[in-house]
Each structure stands twice: as C-alpha cells, then as structure tokens.
Amino acid sequence: METVATAVEREPRTYLNVDHTLKSWLLTEDHKRIGILYLIVITIFFAIGGLFAALIRIELTTPAGDLVESSVYNRLFTGHGIIMVFFFLIPSIPASLGNFLIPLMIGAKDVAFPKLNLLSWYLYVIGGSMALTAIIYGGIDTGWTFYVPFSTGYASGMVMLTLVGIFINGFSSILTGLNFMVTIHRMRAPGMTWFRLPLFIWSLYSTSLIQVLATPVVAVTLLLAALERGLHIGIFDPALGGDPVLFQHLFWFYSHPAVYIMILPAMGVTSEIISTFSKKEPFGYSFIALSSLAIAVFGFIVWGHHLFVSSQSVYAGMVFSILSYLVAIPSAIKVFNWVSTMYKGSVELTTPMLYGIGFIGLFTIGGLTGLFLASMGMDVHLTDTYFVIAHFHYIMVGGAIMGFMGGLHFWWPKITGKLYSETWARLSAIIIFLGFNLTFFPQFILGYMGMPRRYHVYAPEFQVFNVLSSAGASVLGLGYALPLVYFLWSIFFGKKAPANPWGATGLEWQIQSPPLPENFEITPVITEAPYHYAPSEEVVHVG
C-alpha cells in the first residue's frame, strides 16, 4: 500500500486526493464525493437484495416449500422488493452517476444546494437502515406494495418501522430531484442552452420531475397506512368504511411513475453510450430528448392499469388502458433512434457498448410485453402472474440495471481515474446478458401458464421453467459478482485512465480524470451543439 500512497502523492490534485480523512468524506459537500457515497451504499443494498433473490430462486427450484417456510419465503420476496425498488433502483443512477455527472456535464462547480445534497444522502442512509433493520430483525411479509387491509391489519413484523424508513427515504428522493432540477435550470455554463444539453441530462431532468411531483403522494399514503396500522383510524379499513382500492390508487400514482424514475436515467446512459461508441451524434437528438419528458408526463396518467382486476370501474380501466399505450410511443421513438444512431457509425463493441445494445434489446422486450399488460382483456389473465414478474424484471434489471452497469463502466475511468480490465468486463457483460435471459424469459411462459406471483409452493407442472429460471439466476449472480472483483482490482492496480479514454465529446471528458475538486479551473463556455463528432457541414440527411 505504501507504494500506492506515494504514487498518489505525486499525482495532480483531484477531488479524491484533496483530503483523505473519513470526516472529509462524511461531511463532504462535493457532489462527486456524495455520488461515491451513494454508490457504496447502493452497492450494499444491491448485494443484500440480490442475496434475497438468490434464496427465492433456490427455494423455487422445487414445487414444494423445502428450503424455508412460507412465512420466511414471504419475508424474502418482501425484503427483495423493498430493498431493490426503494433503496437500490430508485436512487441507483440518479443519485450516484447523476450526482457525479450533472455538474460536470453542464459546466457547473457543484449542484445548486450541496448541503441539501449531503442531507439527502443521510436521509437515504437513515431510511435505508430503518428498513433494513426491520427486514433483518423479524422481517415483514406485506409485499413491497403494502396492500391494505393486509399490511395494516394482518401482516406481521415491523411494518411501521419499514414504512417510516421508506417515508424518510422518500424525502431523500424528493430533495435529490429538487436539487437536480434547480441545478439544471440555473447552474448551466454560459452557452449551455437546453438543446445543447447531453441526453443524459434530459433524462435526469425528466426523472427529477417525477421524483418531485409523485414521491410526496406515496409518502403521505404510506404515512396513512402506518397510522392505520398503529391507531386503526379506519382510513383504508373496509371494516370501518375505508376503501382499500383508494390506497391502490394513491400507491400506484407514485409507484407507476417510479418505474420511469428507474428506466429514464438508464435511457439517458444508453443515449450517451450509443452515441460515443458509434462516434456519431445521436440520431434525432431532440426526439430522444423530448421523448424523455413525454414519458415522464404520460407516466402520471396511466397508473390505473395496475388496477384492472381490483374492482376498479370498467370505464376508468378503459381510460387508463388507452393512455398506457401513449407511453409506448416515446419509448418506441427512443429505440428506433438509438438503432439509427448506429447506422453508418463507427461502432466499437467496448464493455459500455455491450451494455448499451443489451439495454436496447432487453428494454424492447420489456416494453413490448408491457403492451400485453396494458390490454385489459389480456391483463385479466396475466396480472399477478409470473408474466408481470418477467415483464418488470426486463424493465428493471434488463433495463435499469443494464443501464446502471453500462454507465458505471462508461464513467468508471472518469470517476476513479483508473482503467478496469476490458476483457473481464466484456466477459461479465456477456454472462449477465445470457444469465438474465435464462432467468427471466422462462417466467413469461410460466406467467401465461398461470403461475401466480408470490407463490411459495407451486403446482408441479410449473417446475421445468422454474428450474431453468433458477439456473439462469446462478449465471446472473456470477455475472454480477465479477464486476465487484475487477472494479476493486482496478482501483488498486488498474492502469491510470487518460482524460478521455473513449474519445467522447461530453464536457466531462474534456477535464482531467479524476476531476478537480472544483471541476473546472475556469467556467467553460459552450459554443457548439453536443456530440460534434463530425464537422457540421458533413451531414447526411435521410428519411
């Protein structure tokens, strides 16, 4: 270690080596360091959530409940859902990569409210610790959706503590979104107009919009559920005249847009990656940019498609069903534009690019299978079956996590100043892609065959596909373990990264790796559109 330490001393000043004390990290107001703090905690949550998933898949290898009891199994999938949704996926890209990159990409010294940014991280850690405490000591068996009256009157475990933890974490999410929106509005460098913003920024702006507008509703809803559980005020209790379907409305008003909180940043990452490794400006820049906003806005008016069989009014179902298809349009626009970006490009299949094209393929399947669930007659058969599980894992794992991994590999040299092993990284990307499909594709078939979700014990005819799925999960697990190893390895032994290893055009690549504590020595002035790989006079027009 001594040699490493002395090597660091000789290096230029960076945000990493400016101070080494623990205090300098825990009280930092530097958005880059806060991004790394997030990254660490997010990784821990991902590992715990993944462990729960592994246990679930092992249990489901056989139809009987032979590994754990039903009550334990229910705690496993509840823990998996709560951790992955609230404490991994929602903060994953925005809070870690977003925090690190937004000021760099728009030419600012920091986010608008650095103290608030640090506070958000603490709220996240506090909320996460509370939920984790509840899940580990006793566990809860409500399912991550907390449907009433089960969660308020029948479920066991520390439901209150979990609800309060998620409530607190909600404020972390709100404040992060607020911070980002103000930053993007007010902190852009001179010349950085809206249509010169990188697409990643557009997607994070849309994400933040959802975080700010939707999260408070779920916060107050979960608060009411906690009150109901503690005091039996009757607000969601049918025995007291309360309406359990109202809870579902309020819950999905947030939790459907929350899916876009997860997928939009991954779309932004993909836009950056595809453009960089095709060495070409994104096809239809403004369409990709505005479709992010469109997804965010449409995302608010479709939540009722989670309620088709919940005794929701048929007319409301019709409205929500037709509106749900509107989201398909901006998503399709994005996919077609990404693919067209590669057309006549100079394509290099680096690790980030593998994740990028993997994202496009898996997101396409995930998105298209969403159309099944928006179609009411089809949804009646498919909802609450493994088809839904497969669909949203294609979006959340095949989409959001592929995007997260892609982004991490893409910006790792910038974040750490080190290069990871490209060979191992490509290998792991391929393993993840294969393992993922083997895990989740069989679940589509299981779903259509009628296997309900959250089943601990299942009918024997479902076993074949469950075994395939569990086998895939072990491959997937291996795929996720590899990056942990080579990333850590690269921090200590990796080669030093140049400022711009990929030949990208983004502002963040024009500064040293890792960046200065203040990001830019002098405030940059932007004079060009983003992604100026080719001189602007050499433009080919198609279509």
Partner: protein, 109 residues
C-alpha cells in the same frame, strides 16, 4: 437569469389583498349558512380558490415572478388535478357496469 432588481410590491397592494381575504372569509361563512344544495360546496371552493390565488399572486409575488416560477406552480397544480381527476374516473363510475359494488360491510372477524 434576468438581471431585474427585486420587484417591490407597494404596501397598498398588500393591504388591499388582505382586506379582500378578510371579506371573502366572512363571505364564505355566510354563504355556507344558505342552502344552495350541492352548490354550497362549489361556492365554498370557488371562494377558496380566489383567496388562494390572491395569496399566490400577490403575497407570494408570483404575479411579478419569472415564467419559470409560474410554470412550476402550474405544473404542481396540474399534477394535483391529474391525481384527483383520474382517481375520480374510478370512484365516480365504479360499479356502473356490473351493478352495485357499494360498500357492503365486513362480517365479523
């Protein structure tokens, strides 16, 4: 990022708004004592909206603020309306097709 100085709102505007708010408060209490059937609630909400608009526009200076501030306020209110409107598409028409799905009570536990 316009470089305008703070807009100083004249005190008389505040006083006028204040008086209007007081009058509307008395008015809304008075209106509630008249039987207007289902329009009692409508009138009460109209008055409340007028009062809220006065506060937002003048006490909170939105009337003098940038387009961005106005856009934020409008976006918030629109989202709230989305929540109300689409939840009500369900609540208001529930059971309209299948016959009753009224609350029927839960038999003892």
């Amino acid at each position: 990022m316009s470089n305008h100085p703070d807009h100083i709102v004249p005190v008389r505007v505040y006083i006028f708004v204040f008086l209007a708010l007081m009058v509307f408060t008395v008015l809304t209490v008075y209106a509630a004592t008249i039987d207007l059937g289902r329009y009692n609630i409508v009138l009460a909400l109209v008055i409340a909206c007028i009062k809220a608009s006065l506060v937002i526009m003048f006490f909170m200076h939105v009337y003098y603020s940038s387009k961005l501030t106005k856009a934020i306020v409008i976006a918030g209110l629109c989202t709230l309306m989305i929540l109300f409107f689409f939840t009500l598409t369900d609540l208001a028409t529930r059971g309209a097709l299948q016959g009753t799905t009224d609350w029927v009570g839960v038999p003892g536990r």
